[in-house]
C-alpha cells in the first residue's frame, strides 16, 4: 500500500468512527432543535479533518477529493446536517487551495486553518440576484488607504454564526458589472453578521442557515487573485455538486439500510414466507444503484478531467455534466428516501423507531433547492443550444 492510500484509509476510518460514535447519537437532537452539530464538528477538528484538502506542505492532511467525498458519504449516513457543514467547509477550502495562485496571504491563511482547524462558511447567494450565483450586487468598496469594505444582504448563510471565517462573492469594484466578481475572505474580527431572519426549516435543520446582512472591512490582499467566474466553473460549482451528492447518497443509503432491516425483521417473524415488502425493497435497491452510479461517475469524471487538463473543466460540456449530476442526484435521493418510507410503512413514518426515515426524507428534500434546480435547468437550456457532445 502506498503512503497516500494508507493515509486516506486511516483518515476515513477516523471519519467513520466520528460518524458512528458522535454524529449518529446526536442526529435526532440536532434535527429536533435545529441546532448546530457542535459535537461532530469538534470531533472533526480533533481529527484535523477541516484541513484534509490542504496540501501537507501547508500543514494540511493532503487528502484526495475522492477521500473527502467518501467522508461526506459516511457522515451523510449518520447525520445529514453534519455532513453538509463538513462538505460546505471543504468546498471553500478546495476553492482557495486550487485558485490561490501562489498568493502569500492565502498560503499563510491555509496554514492558519490547518493549525487552528478554522471553520469556513460561504456567502454566495444575495437578495436581488434571482438566485444567480454568477452575479453580485454588493461590491468591494475602497474605504481608506489599504482598506476596502462591503455590505451584502444574504438570504441564507449556512452555519454563518459558527464559522471562524467567511468567503464572500462580490463585484470587483463599485463600478464593476454584476458578473465581474471576486471572492473575499474575512475572519470573525473583520466582519459583523446582522441576523435578518429565523431558522425553522423542513430539513437540514442543523446547518443553521438564516439570512444575514454581512458587513466587513479588510485589506485587499484578502481577495483571491483568481476571478470568481473561473473559481466557480473549475472548482466551486462542480466540487459542490460532487460533495453534496455524496452526502445525499449517504442519507439515501441509510434510508435504504433502515428499510432493509425492517424487511429482515419481518422475514424473521415469518421464516416460511417472503415478506410482501421484500419485492419493494428490491425495486428500491435499483433506484439506489442509479443514484450511486451517477454520483460515483460524476466524481471519477471530474478527477480525470482535472488531472488531464484543468482548462477542460471550463467548457460548456463540462458545466453541463456537473450541473446534471446535481439535478439527477437531488431528484433521486429523496425518491429513494420516500421509497424506504413506503417499505417501512408507519414505523418509517414515525420519528422514534429504529426504522424512522422522516429526517432522511426531509433532509434530502433540501437538495433540489440548494441552488434551485429550475435555475440550473435555465443555465443548461441555454448551454444546450450550443454545446455539441453532452
Amino acid at each position: 500500500m502506498t503512503l497516500a492510500i494508507e493515509r486516506d484509509q486511516t483518515f476515513l476510518a477516523a471519519i467513520r468512527r466520528i460518524a458512528d460514535e458522535v454524529a449518529a447519537p446526536n442526529a435526532d437532537d440536532v434535527d429536533r432543535n435545529a441546532r448546530f452539530p457542535v459535537e461532530t464538528i469538534d470531533a472533526l477538528k480533533a481529527e484535523r479533518a477541516l484541513s484534509a484538502l490542504i496540501p501537507t506542505e501547508l500543514g494540511g492532511g493532503g487528502e484526495s477529493l475522492e477521500t473527502v467525498a467518501d467522508a461526506c458519504f459516511e457522515l451523510g449516513r449518520r447525520c445529514g446536517a453534519s455532513a453538509m457543514v463538513f462538505a460546505m467547509h471543504q468546498i471553500q477550502i478546495a476553492a482557495i487551495v486550487r485558485h490561490l495562485d501562489g498568493a502569500p496571504w492565502f498560503e499563510a491563511y491555509l496554514r492558519d486553518v490547518a493549525e487552528g482547524q478554522r471553520l469556513v462558511a460561504s456567502v454566495t447567494s444575495e437578495i436581488g440576484t434571482g438566485g444567480d450565483l454568477g452575479r453580485s450586487i454588493a461590491a468591494v468598496t475602497p474605504v481608506r488607504d489599504g482598506i476596502v469594505s462591503f455590505e451584502k444582504q444574504a438570504p441564507t448563510v449556512s452555519y454563518g454564526s459558527y464559522a471562524d471565517d467567511l468567503l464572500t462573492t462580490l463585484r470587483r469594484s463599485p463600478d464593476a458589472e454584476p458578473g465581474d466578481q471576486v471572492v473575499a475572505l474575512t475572519s470573525r474580527d473583520q466582519h459583523r453578521l446582522e441576523s435578518t431572519s429565523t431558522w425553522d426549516p423542513l430539513g437540514m435543520r442543523g446547518t443553521c442557515s438564516p439570512g444575514y446582512v454581512v458587513r466587513a472591512e479588510l485589506p485587499p490582499v484578502q481577495i483571491l487573485p483568481t476571478p470568481f467566474a473561473q473559481v466557480a466553473t473549475q472548482s466551486m460549482v462542480p466540487i459542490s455538486h460532487i460533495l453534496w451528492s455524496h452526502l445525499w447518497l449517504g442519507i439515501a443509503t441509510d434510508a435504504f439500510d433502515r428499510a432493509r432491516s425492517f424487511v429482515k425483521a419481518q422475514a424473521k417473524g415469518r421464516p416460511d414466507q417472503l415478506p410482501p415488502t421484500a419485492v419493494r425493497l428490491s425495486q428500491l435497491m435499483s433506484e439506489l444503484s442509479l443514484l450511486r452510479a451517477e454520483v460515483r461517475n460524476g466524481l471519477r469524471e471530474y478527477v480525470e478531467a482535472d488531472a488531464e487538463d484543468r482548462e477542460s473543466l471550463s467548457t460548456m460540456a463540462s458545466i453541463l455534466r456537473f450541473n446534471n449530476l446535481k439535478i439527477a442526484a437531488s431528484e433521486q435521493a429523496p425518491r429513494v428516501c420516500q421509497g424506504a418510507m413506503s417499505v417501512c410503512g408507519i414505523v418509517g413514518y414515525k420519528n422514534d423507531t429504529p426504522f424512522s426515515v422522516g429526517r432522511h426524507l426531509r433532509d434530502t428534500m433540501s437538495a433540489c433547492l440548494m441552488v434551485a434546480n429550475d435555475r440550473i435547468h435555465q443555465t443548461n437550456a441555454s448551454l444546450l443550444l450550443i454545446a455539441k457532445e453532452v
Binding site: 465581474d180 471550463s314 450550443i386 454545446a387 455539441k388
Partner: protein, 87 residues
C-alpha cells in the same frame, strides 16, 4: 480592407447584435474583456450561435468556454484557428 479587418468587423457586428453589452460596441477595444464589460453568460451563448451562423462554422466543445469568447481578439483567434477566411 484586409481580410483580417473584415473578419474583425463582422465579429464586432455579431457581438454588437447579440452580446447585449451595456455600452456601445464602438467603445470596446479588441482586447477589452467582454464579460467584464457586462456580457452575461446567456448573451455569450447567443454570440456563439450568431458567430456560427455568420461564419458557417461549428465551434468544437473544447473551444466552447468563456476564455475563447472573452474579447473580440480572442474570438478572432478562435475563428482563425477554425480557418475562417473573411468572405
Amino acid at each position: 480592407m484586409s481580410d483580417r479587418q473584415d473578419l474583425t468587423r463582422r465579429i464586432r457586428q455579431v457581438v454588437g447584435e447579440h452580446g447585449h453589452l451595456p455600452v456601445d460596441i464602438a467603445t470596446i477595444d479588441d482586447d477589452t474583456d467582454l464579460f467584464q464589460a457586462g456580457m452575461t453568460s446567456h448573451a455569450s451563448v447567443n454570440v456563439m450561435l450568431g458567430l456560427e451562423s455568420e461564419f458557417d462554422v461549428e465551434f468544437p466543445d473544447a473551444m466552447l468556454k468563456r476564455s475563447v469568447f472573452e474579447s473580440i481578439g480572442a474570438i478572432r483567434s478562435a475563428l482563425e484557428q477554425l480557418q475562417v477566411v473573411a468572405a
